[in-house]
């Protein structure tokens, strides 16, 4: 990794802290899913932390993101409150969505988090809308659309890329290429080697970046964000990354075989949670005692988040009929009995 004189030591440490928070959040989530404290399934971000941390490190709090089914990392990196996230995962009233969304739908509009999304690629045009609004409102806010290599083949993502390009919208498209759309290798699902090359077809800059290198991601994202803020339009950045775990928590019981242990082991050699703090130490930015302190803070934050979630009350069942409309009418929404 190259030195980054443009980043202050606390920013460099902050990137590690964010990645560590995401990794440990996800590990705790898996425990809670396995103990059935979290209903349903979750899609862990383990292995991809450098992307969310690097991109969000280049954003302001008023910038907007749209996220994916694998969204915990994006939300934490954008400043999402782990307590309210954990409460949402457990289906509690204190959750971000009051228990109506769960893992795939966490949103905090106040932080510009326009929601994780259960439909692959669906957030891309929504990010374009946020960007159009920023432009018309005279703000230099930008919007970031996260999607994966699977999303890169969704029609609406292509439509959104084109719209953003023709209207020069302040959007940064982050394609997190983790190699697999569930079990389908990207090499079988796209005929181009680098998905970033598709940007040329829309007349926008496309960049490929090593998604296991948080500083490389940050640098590419910062450049694209700066261009967008200057009114120079969108960018597509492909971050080549890898998920160390299954597509979702239920995968191991399904016994899917679509990649080998050697491949996973090879990518784990490049784990940013190992390589990056090691580099920070060699740079004298994060000595072992400081690192231990950061990690202890993360553990404490997660303990507090889990305790908060467990103490948060269950919603009243009848709350299931609330919040559908900003403007309610008698009899709406219809109940089923």
């Amino acid at each position: 990794m190259d030195p980054r004189p443009d980043l202050r030591p606390e920013q460099l440490v902050g990137l590690y802290r964010t990645m560590r928070l995401i990794r440990r959040f996800e590990e705790r989530v898996v425990e809670l899913v396995n103990r059935d404290e979290i209903p349903g399934v979750t899609h862990e971000y383990v292995g991809q932390e450098a992307v969310a941390a690097g991109v969000s490190g280049a954003l302001r709090s008023d910038d907007v993101i749209t996220s994916t089914h694998r969204g915990h990392g994006h939300i934490l990196a954008k400043g999402g409150d782990p307590r309210r996230m954990m409460a949402e995962l457990m289906g509690r009233r204190g959750g971000y969505n009051r228990g109506r969304g769960g893992s795939m739908h966490i949103a905090d509009l106040g932080l510009g988090i326009y929601g994780a999304n259960g439909i692959v690629g669906a957030g891309a045009p929504i990010a374009c809308g946020a960007a159009l609004a920023a432009k018309l409102q005279g703000s230099d806010r930008v919007a970031v659309a996260f999607f994966g290599d699977g999303g890169m083949n969704q029609g609406v993502v292509h439509e959104a890329l084109n719209l953003a390009a023709i209207w020069r919208l302040p959007v940064v498209f982050i394609c997190e290429n983790n190699g697999y759309a569930i079990s389908a290798p990207i090499g079988q699902m796209a005929a181009v080697e680098r998905l970033a090359d598709r940007a040329a077809g829309y007349g926008m800059p496309g960049e490929w970046v090593d998604g296991m290198e948080v500083l490389a991601v940050h640098e590419a994202a910062a450049g694209a964000v700066a261009r967008a803020r200057r009114g120079e339009g969108p960018t597509l950045i492909e971050c080549r990354t890898y998920r160390f775990v299954g597509h979702f928590t239920a995968e191991r019981v399904l016994g899917l075989r679509y990649r080998g242990e050697e491949e996973i082991a090879a990518w784990r050699e490049r784990d940013p949670l190992v390589t990056y703090p090691r580099w920070l130490e060699t740079q004298g930015v994060l000595p072992p005692t400081d690192r231990a302190r950061v990690e202890a803070e993360v553990e404490a934050l997660l303990e507090e988040a889990i305790a908060f979630a467990r103490q948060s009350p269950w919603p009243e069942p009848s709350e299931a009929l609330e919040g559908m409309y900003a403007v309610p009418y008698p009899g709406l929404p219809a109940r089923g009995w």
């Binding site: 749209t66 159009l132 559908m324």
Partner: protein, 328 residues
């Protein structure tokens, strides 16, 4: 108060709202040139930052409106063809309609989806002739279908001011109809049906383009000594159940005259409502006159055969009254 066409009434509502509220923008295919006629002259008046021509990307521009609405704008999206709702369906029902609920009540999504030329126009066949409002109601989306120029202006204004997604169906068969419309801004609130013609022997609940047909039918029936009441729901969701049920309770007979498909159509919903809520008042089974469940065919005689029409309504009403005994 002047007599203007339905299409001009829609245009007037949108123009007045855009003058009144700078957050209102309009986007869609060919809206600058105004292929459909609603936005004629808008580019000149409001400029390129309020009036957007989109690429042929219905899913993306529908999703864009959602994001823009969450960020504080009030987009009006025009769909050039009714069936384009299908192309945009995920963004309509899975995103725009669900997001506020799924986010725990965060945010507002004030988007108006205008479908000018909904339903059948002679000779456009199965992919340009649908009236797919039941699909949207099924997913909880608010929707209106005005039947007169006056209603068109008032409901369009209400839709734009509503802080939720609302679909405005503007039937092709009505766009050229003229009627009295007040020049100033006014709102017809969502969820208010209107009795378009009073009567005592039976209730015809007519929807959208079939309302004028039902009124004409009622006039012919009056000449035969049959007094038919025509009720126009106007707003499909929210639905003014009370006005509909009050009419059926009064007359004891109901024929539903609806331009959507039969299976799981809007008429089916109304028939179930009447059966559940006004059973004791019924003197005859509820009858439905709807489209046939086929794509609208091209050839004029085929098209006419599958769409609900006045002659079938007249036959249905006469048969219903004969079978159930005229009130004495």
């Amino acid at each position: 108060m002047g007599e203007i066409r339905y299409l001009e009434a829609l245009s007037q509502a949108l123009r007045q709202e855009m003058r009144r509220d700078s957050r209102v923008i309009v986007l869609g295919e060919d809206v600058r040139a105004s292929l459909r006629g609603v936005t004629k002259g808008f580019l000149e008046e409001f400029g390129p930052d309020r009036v957007f021509d989109t690429p042929i990307s219905e899913a993306a521009f529908t999703g864009l409106a959602t994001g823009a609405a969450l960020a504080g704008l009030r987009p009006v999206v025009e769909y050039q063809i009714n069936a384009l709702l299908f192309v945009a369906f995920d963004q309509l029902v899975d995103q725009a309609q669900k997001l506020r609920y799924m986010m725990g009540g965060q945010g507002r999504i004030p988007v108006t989806y205008l479908v000018p030329a909904s339903g059948a126009r002679r000779g456009l066949a199965g992919q340009h002739s649908d009236h797919p409002y039941p699909l949207l109601l099924h997913m909880g989306m608010k929707a209106v279908i005005p039947s007169t120029p006056r209603d068109a202006k008032g409901l369009m204004t209400a839709a734009i001011r509503e802080d939720d997604p609302v679909v405005v169906f503007a039937p092709a068969a009505l766009l050229a109809q003229k009627g009295p419309v007040a020049d100033e801004e006014y709102v017809i609130p969502l969820g208010q049906a209107e009795v378009k013609r009073a009567g005592d022997d039976l209730t015809i609940i007519a929807v959208g383009p079939l309302v004028p047909e039902a009124v004409k039918a009622a006039e012919r029936l009056a000449a035969e000594g049959i007094s038919a009441e025509v009720v126009d729901p106007r707003s499909l969701l929210p639905l003014d159940r009370e006005t509909l049920l009050a009419s059926v309770r009064k007359t004891g007979r109901a024929v539903i005259f609806d331009d959507s498909n039969r299976t799981c159509g809007f008429a089916a919903e109304l028939a179930a409502l009447i059966a559940e809520e006004a059973w004791e008042a019924l003197r005859a089974p509820v009858r439905r006159l709807t489209r046939a469940d086929v794509p609208v065919p091209f050839s004029p005689p085929l098209e006419a055969y599958v769409l609900p029409a006045q002659d079938r309504l007249l036959a249905e009403v006469r048969a219903l009254l004969a079978a159930s005994g005229r009130p004495g």
